[in-house]
C-alpha cells in the first residue's frame, strides 16, 4: 500500500476536518477491484478499480492486492479501565483494536468499579470518544457487582449516553435460573441482549484446564465441557420460554454447538460467539504448563476445534469475538495455578480467522465480514457499524493484505498485554489500514492521527479539538 496526500488547505487531523480519502483498487470483500471515495464520514462514491478521480485535498490510498472489509466489530473486549490500568487502558486497547482492523469494540463490564451503573458505562464510553480510534461501546453488568444476586439498573445504562444494549456478567456466569430469567425478560424493554458466560460454578470449582486426557496426565483440576453445555441448554430453554434474545459468549465445545444447532432449529432467538483461540489452539498446548495458555473457557480438544470451525461455517455460531484479555506480565510469569486466565486477541484475531477459516476453505471474505462485522454489529445494535461498503453507508473499513505472512511478536503489539498465545507462530494476513468514519486511524500498518495522550501535551500543541467535544 502507498498513500499520497494531495495538497490540502487544512492540515488538521480533527474529525470534523477529515479530508476525503480515495481508496483505489481494493478488492471489495475479496472480489472485484473497486475504488471507494470516502467523504463526510460516509462512502461517497464507488466505482470499478481505477475509475474514480481523487478530488482536491484527498488522500489517496493505493490498495491493489488488498481486501476491503467493513470495519470489524468486537463483541467481547476487556479494556480493563477503570481499575486495572496496569493491564490495559481504553487508550491502549483502542490502539490495539484499530491496529487489528476493528472500528468498534464492546468493553466488558468486569472492571473495578464494575460497569453496573450509568455513571461507569458513561465514563468508559467517554474515554473511548476521547481516544477516538474506535467506537467503544460499553457492556453493562447484568447484576450488581457481578455478584449474581440482583439485577443492576439495566434501564439506566440503556438510556445513558453510552446506550448500552449488551449486558453481561462475563467472567462470571449468571447461574441463578430465576435471575437469568428475569434478566432475559427485562432487557426486552430496551432491545437489549444478555450475553451469558456459560459456566456452572459448582462443576468448575478450582478448575484449571479442560477435563480430559491431558488434565488427567498433568494433574490439573478438570473443567468439564458439561459445565458449559448444561448452562447453555438451560438458557436456550429459558430464552425460548420468555421469548427473549440470548447471546452465548465464547462457545468452546462440540456439545455446545449441538445444543445451539438444536435451539436455532427450534426457532430460539439465540446467537453465539467463538474466540479466535478456540478456533486454533487445543489443550495439548498446556502440557508445558505455560500459563499463557490458561484461559476461561479453557482450550479444548482438536475435535472441539473442528466442530467450532464447522459451526462458524454453517452459521450455528454467528460471530467471532476476541475475548481480548490483557494481563500484566507478573500475572502470567508464575506457576499455572497462580496465573490469571486470559489471552490478548485484538491484534491477531483477523489473522487467526484467516488461518483457521479462510485458508481452510470454510469461509470466504464476505463471510469474514459477516462474522467479524455485520453479525456482531447487529447483535450489539450498532446501527452505524457492520454496514455494506456501498454509497451512502458509514465509512468504516479495513484493508487487509491476505498474502502477507508474519510471525507474531507480542512485544510489538499496542496492547499492554504480552500474553499472546500465538507468540512466534507464523500467521497469514496483515491489517494495512483502518478507517473510522472516513478518517484513517491506521495506515501502512501503523497508527496515524492519534489525539495527544496527555492534557499538557494537548495544550502545548493547541486545543485538541478532536477530544471531548468531537462530534
Amino acid at each position: 500500500m502507498s498513500t499520497t496526500d494531495t495538497p490540502a488547505p487544512t492540515g488538521a487531523a480533527g474529525e470534523g476536518a477529515a479530508p476525503p480519502v480515495l481508496v483505489r483498487r481494493a478488492r471489495l470483500l475479496g472480489g472485484e477491484e473497486t475504488d471507494l471515495l470516502l467523504a463526510g464520514g460516509r462512502v461517497a462514491r464507488t466505482g470499478p478499480g481505477g475509475s474514480l478521480e481523487a478530488p482536491d485535498g484527498a488522500r489517496v490510498v493505493e490498495a491493489a492486492g488488498l481486501v476491503a472489509l467493513p470495519g470489524l466489530v468486537d463483541l467481547h473486549t476487556h479494556l480493563r479501565e477503570p481499575g486495572r490500568e496496569d493491564a490495559e487502558t481504553v487508550r491502549t486497547g483502542s490502539r490495539a483494536a484499530a491496529l487489528g482492523g476493528f472500528t468498534a469494540v464492546h468493553a466488558m463490564a468486569n472492571t473495578d468499579p464494575v460497569a453496573d451503573t450509568a455513571g461507569v458505562v458513561e465514563q468508559v464510553w467517554r474515554l473511548g470518544r476521547e481516544v477516538g480510534l474506535v467506537d467503544v461501546r460499553p457492556v453493562g453488568a447484568v447484576t450488581v457487582g457481578l455478584a449474581g444476586e440482583r439485577l443492576a439498573e439495566l434501564g439506566a445504562m440503556a438510556t445513558s449516553a453510552a446506550r448500552v444494549r449488551v449486558f453481561s456478567d462475563d467472567g462470571r456466569c449468571v447461574h441463578d435460573p430465576v435471575l437469568m430469567r428475569r434478566a432475559l425478560e427485562y432487557v426486552r424493554s430496551v432491545d437489549g441482549v444478555v450475553a451469558q458466560h456459560a459456566q456452572d460454578p459448582r462443576l468448575t470449582e478450582g478448575a484449571q484446564m479442560h477435563e480430559g486426557v491431558v488434565s488427567s496426565v498433568l494433574g490439573l483440576r478438570g473443567w468439564p465441557a458439561v459445565a458449559e453445555e448444561a448452562v447453555i441448554a438451560r438458557d436456550v430453554l429459558l430464552a425460548d420460554h420468555v421469548g427473549s434474545r440470548l447471546h452465548v459468549c465464547h462457545v468452546s465445545t462440540a456439545g455446545s454447538v449441538e445444543i445451539l444447532r438444536w435451539a436455532k432449529a427450534r426457532g430460539v432467538d439465540v446467537t453465539a460467539e467463538v474466540t479466535p483461540h478456540h478456533l486454533l489452539l487445543t489443550d495439548e498446548l498446556v502440557r508445558g504448563y505455560d500459563p499463557v495458555y490458561k484461559v476461561n473457557p479453557p482450550l479444548r480438544t482438536r475435535a472441539d476445534v473442528e466442530a467450532l470451525r464447522e459451526a462458524v461455517a454453517d452459521g450455528t455460531v454467528d460471530v467471532v469475538a476476541t475475548d481480548h484479555a490483557p494481563h500484566p506480565v507478573e500475572d502470567k510469569d508464575c506457576e499455572w495455578a497462580a496465573a490469571a486466565m486470559g489471552m490478548t486477541g485484538l491484534e491477531t484475531a483477523l489473522s487467526v480467522v484467516q488461518e483457521a477459516l479462510v485458508e481452510t476453505g470454510l469461509l470466504g471474505w464476505a463471510d469474514v465480514a459477516r462474522v467479524l462485522s455485520s453479525a456482531p454489529a447487529r447483535i450489539g445494535r450498532l446501527e452505524d457499524h457492520g454496514r455494506p461498503l456501498a454509497e451512502g453507508e458509514p465509512a468504516h473499513l479495513v484493508l487487509v493484505d491476505p498474502a502477507a505472512r508474519r510471525p507474531v511478536a507480542p512485544e510489538q503489539h499496542a496492547t499492554q498485554g504480552r500474553n499472546s498465545p500465538y507468540r512466534g507462530m507464523e500467521l497469514p494476513g496483515r491489517v494495512v489500514a483502518t478507517v473510522l468514519r472516513g478518517r484513517p486511524v491506521v495506515l501502512d500498518g501503523a497508527l496515524v492521527g492519534e489525539q495527544p495522550d496527555d492534557a499538557h501535551l494537548g495544550a502545548s500543541r493547541g486545543a485538541p479539538h478532536g477530544a471531548a467535544g468531537a462530534s
Partner: protein, 317 residues
Amino acid sequence: MRHLLSAADLSREGALELLDVAEEMAATQAREIKKLPTLRGRTVVNLFFEDSTRTRISFEAAAKRLSADVITFSAKGSSVSKGESLKDTALTLQAMGADAVVLRHSASGAAHRLAHAGWSGVGVLNAGDGTHEHPTQALLDAFTLRRRLAERAGGDPARVLEGARVAVVGDVLHSRVARSNVLLLETLGADVVLVAPPTLLPVGVGTWPCRTSWDLDAVLPDVDAVMVLRVQRERMGGGGFFPSAQEYTRRFGLDGRRLRLLPDHALVMHPGPMNRGLEISAEAADSPRSTIVEQVANGVAVRMAALYLLLAGEDAA
C-alpha cells in the same frame, strides 16, 4: 540428566541406570562411614513450598551423604498462593550459586515452570508438584519392588520388573505418586492396575498405560505387589468423593482379610504417611510382606542416585 520433572522423562535405559546407581549408593550406606565425596563443593537447595518432613529429610540426607552443601528453604503458608514468590525465589537461589533445586510445591507443574520458564538455569528435581508427579517416589518404589522380586526369583535385574503385576489402590485422582508410578512401571515393563472408587479416578484415565478396576478383592489374588495410596480425609464428607471413612475402608481398605487374598510372595507398599485404619490396617502395614520402612531407607539411596546423575552425571559419563 538436565532435570527430573516427571517419570516420563526417563527412558527404560535411563531408569535402569538410575536404579543401578541407586544400588551402588545403597551399598555404600551399609558401610560405617556413609559419606561420599562425590558432590563436594556443589550446592543443593531444598525448596519446600509445602510441608513434607519425610521427603525433605530424605533429600537432605541424600545430598549430605554425597558431601553437597545443603540449603533448606521452607516457604509454607500464604506465600504459596503468590506466583511471584516462586520466580523471585528462583532468581535468589540462582544468585546464591545453587547447582540444583529440589522443589516441592502445591501447584501442579511448578517444577516444570521452574525448569523451563527461563527464570534460572539450575537443574530441577521434582520432589512432588501438586497432583501431578513425584518421580523419586516412583523410583524408590520401583527400586524396592525390583530388589524384593529379584531376591525371590533371581534373574537379570534389568528384566525383573517386566511383567510384574502391581495394583495401585486409592485416591488416584489426587495422587502424584500414582501418576509417576504408572509411567515408570510402564517404562520398566510392569503391568499396572489402578483400583479406586470411580470418583477418585480421573476422567481420561482410560488413555493411561494401565488397567483400572473398582473391585479390590478381584484384583488382589493376581498381583506381585499392592501399593496403597494415602487417602486424605478432606476428600470425604464435604469433598464428597466417597460417603464415609467406614465405607471407604470396607470397600478399598487393605485389611487382614484382603491381605490373605494376596499370593504368598506379594508385597504391601505404601508411600507414607499412612492413615492406619483407613486405607490400611495395622495388620497389613506391619506384616512381614510390608516394605513400608524399607521404602523409606531406599528413598535416600534413590535420591542420592538422582542427585548424582543430575549434578555429576556428565563428568561420570
